[in-house]
Symmetry: C2
Subunit: 409 residues, 2 copies
């Protein structure tokens, strides 16, 4: 049978990187800086086990086993709304609404479904989360990369793209302003204000993806774009994947009431609702335990690993490798110097069982970032970070030396 698949998915090819992700992670010798995974020690197992046991001991189990509301379980929506309002000022009861989604990936999928006709355009940071790019493409919309200027998107290029969009094709601006993926860096406050004003001027919606925002290790938090949204222009997306566990498949969206109403309608035919067991586990962690203390413990755990990685990077000759130091999150992004051969560098790492994500993978156009690679520091142990960074140092020396040789020979 010769299947006639829809045009919109023709861009999709099997991603061996993703397919082999778990297999690679299982390799006994691999030191992986590749994936955005939390480590075993980040899971609040004892609390989750207690809450889970109590759920099974309830007289009525429909609360976590029956069909649920598409919007989410009120027991989670209430404390979550309160936290978003008080900690980050990204939710306003008067104008906003909140919904639970099946991982923040679904938030972007539903948003593109709701806003983009085929041929519409989404502006994105040139280096960004591949899942968001695929969500755009999978509805036949166009992902238009905007160049990065140091640690964040070039705001002037955003304005110029909108000014030139005479047909009104640009429907969304997708941003990860805080602890960006893959860069790890954060958009400065003045840029956040500037891009909000541009969105307001052109009447375009901003999708502020913030799955890492709680994980601040240095300095003060930067106000979220949603916190100064008076016009209902910003869709704020968060996740429990990085602060509880990825397999909960729990994310959430805070946005104006008309937007949430539309996203709920979309979600009804997508997966009906998000599993309630994890909604209730998260809810109880927020109401019966000290959730901010849990976040603090994650910050302490990851800060130590972050500093170990920075220490490893500082031992590397800056003529071979540069990076911008993040202040939080899951990743940082490094750039090979011009005379380091990226192919030889990557081959050396594979031979020595160190996994990284090549820059092109986390980019809109899947090209142009051969010299970049992303490093995750939350999953590996401190010891693995030390060993792995030493191997990266060796790989750089090998790749510059042998490429010089090649040039010389």
């Amino acid at each position: 049978m010769n299947y006639k698949f829809a045009n919109r998915l023709s861009f999709l090819q099997p991603n061996p990187l993703r397919e082999n992700a778990r297999k690679n992670m299982m390799h006994p010798e691999v030191i992986s800086f590749a994936f955005g995974f939390p480590p075993e020690e980040a899971f609040p197992i004892e609390k989750m086990a207690k809450i889970s046991k109590a759920l099974y001991e309830l007289p009525d189990h429909e609360v976590f086993l029956q069909y649920g509301d598409t919007k989410g379980h009120p027991m989670l929506l209430e404390p979550l709304a309160k936290r978003l309002e008080t900690v980050y000022d990204v939710y306003d009861e008067q104008s906003d609404d909140l919904m639970i989604v099946s991982g923040s990936t679904q938030g972007m999928d539903l948003t593109v479904k709701a806003f983009c006709n085929e041929g519409d355009i989404v502006l994105m940071e040139a280096q960004t989360f591949s899942g968001a790019v695929n969500a755009v493409l999978s509805y036949g919309a166009i992902a238009k990369p905007i160049e990065m200027k140091g640690e964040t998107i070039d705001v002037e290029q955003v304005e110029s793209a909108l000014a030139n969009d005479t047909e009104g094709k640009i429907k969304l601006i997708y941003l990860i302003p805080t602890f960006q993926n893959p860069l790890g860096t954060s958009m400065p406050l003045e840029d956040r204000h500037a891009i909000y004003e541009i969105a307001k001027k052109y009447g375009v919606v901003i999708y502020e993806d913030d799955p890492y925002g709680d994980l601040l290790y240095e300095g003060e938090p930067i106000p979220r774009i949603k916190s100064f949204d008076t016009e209902g222009l910003v869709i704020y997306s968060g996740s429990f994947s990085k602060i509880l566990a990825p397999s909960t498949r729990l994310g959430f969206i805070a946005a104006s009431k008309p937007i949430i109403e539309k996203l709920i309608l979309g979600k009804q035919s997508v997966d009906s609702h998000t599993n309630q067991y994890w909604q209730l586990i998260a809810a109880k962690l927020m109401t019966d335990y000290d959730f901010e203390a849990h976040i603090d413990s994650l910050r302490a755990l990851y800060r130590e690993k972050f500093e170990a990685m920075i220490e490893g990077l500082e031992k590397i000759n800056p003529e071979l490798l540069t990076y911008i130091r993040p202040t939080g999150g899951y990743f940082l992004c490094a750039k090979l110097a011009d005379d380091v051969c990226s192919v030889k560098f990557n081959d050396y790492l594979i031979d020595h069982h160190v996994a990284i994500i090549p820059g092109n993978v986390m980019s809109v156009e899947k090209k142009g970032f051969e010299k970049y690679f992303r490093l995750n520091f939350t999953k590996p142990s401190i010891e693995e970070i030390e060993t792995g960074m030493a191997i990266i140092n060796d790989a750089l020396k090998f790749a510059v030396k042998s490429s010089n040789k090649t040039i010389a020979s």
Copy 2:
């Protein structure tokens, strides 16, 4: 802000029925025959609690908390493939593959995403699952109703639709052949063969939705269309919602390897993977316990309720109400006689706190089935079924009597 939403979702309006579903169910006086919910006593709580406890006691919790494979967890895929092969002959290791989806609703969403361009056509039973209709419409595809002929779709009309489809716009035939929703009836074997041959002749894919198939109460099971699929034309979709618990959000798709490969690519940008906690609970129920005995206990539980409802229907004057007796599943569908006023009938039921689903809700065009209503018999107790069916009998007498009066006055 005046949002410019995508055209594809313009058909979607808030569904008060759905929004109020859980609220209605909570009303202390309501007898609900409305929703396709399992009852509390259907959940294998003790076994689930034991398996859950063991998961939390594992030395490594990543097995159910970490990011997982988009395709599903091998611990579930293996016993599930074996069950589908041995019990229903709908999976063949040589040609088929199997994937886990987040509820069978997602299976249809991904299938439409993969097969239908905007303007493409999906043939559907005129009375069918509203979630599947919305999945079709939400990609800008067209849901084309095919008339029902007694207990199943009119196969000749399917052939004639395909014969007249000179542009090749028809990409899928969506069917619930076994214990159809809302009819409860099953497509006879000869029709299953006929429709498969038609699909083969025109090279069109059949989506065989089978969420209720295990719940047989009378007679012998009818072979699934997928069981005689030699060409890789049939996508077989199943669910754990009705045989374990809806909020597990676990469904599965068995189809040819190229189709599953495409659906996995689609799922990556939709929700990355399905929560692993419930995948492992389901896996352990299949490998460490007698899963077929669990299914048998559900059949016994529901058979009794099914018979109570049939008994209630038999007390009703067949000049006022007719129905086709199913042999399994979750629902049956009844039809008001011409001289019963459907508005008065429904008003009486609301006044007397009996909930049903009006026929138009579970239809492609949301009209033309005013005289029909769907009854669920799995969720209410035997006592509720007896009381509720007596109220339905009263409602019929009221609606025929008072409508005559109205005509007379």
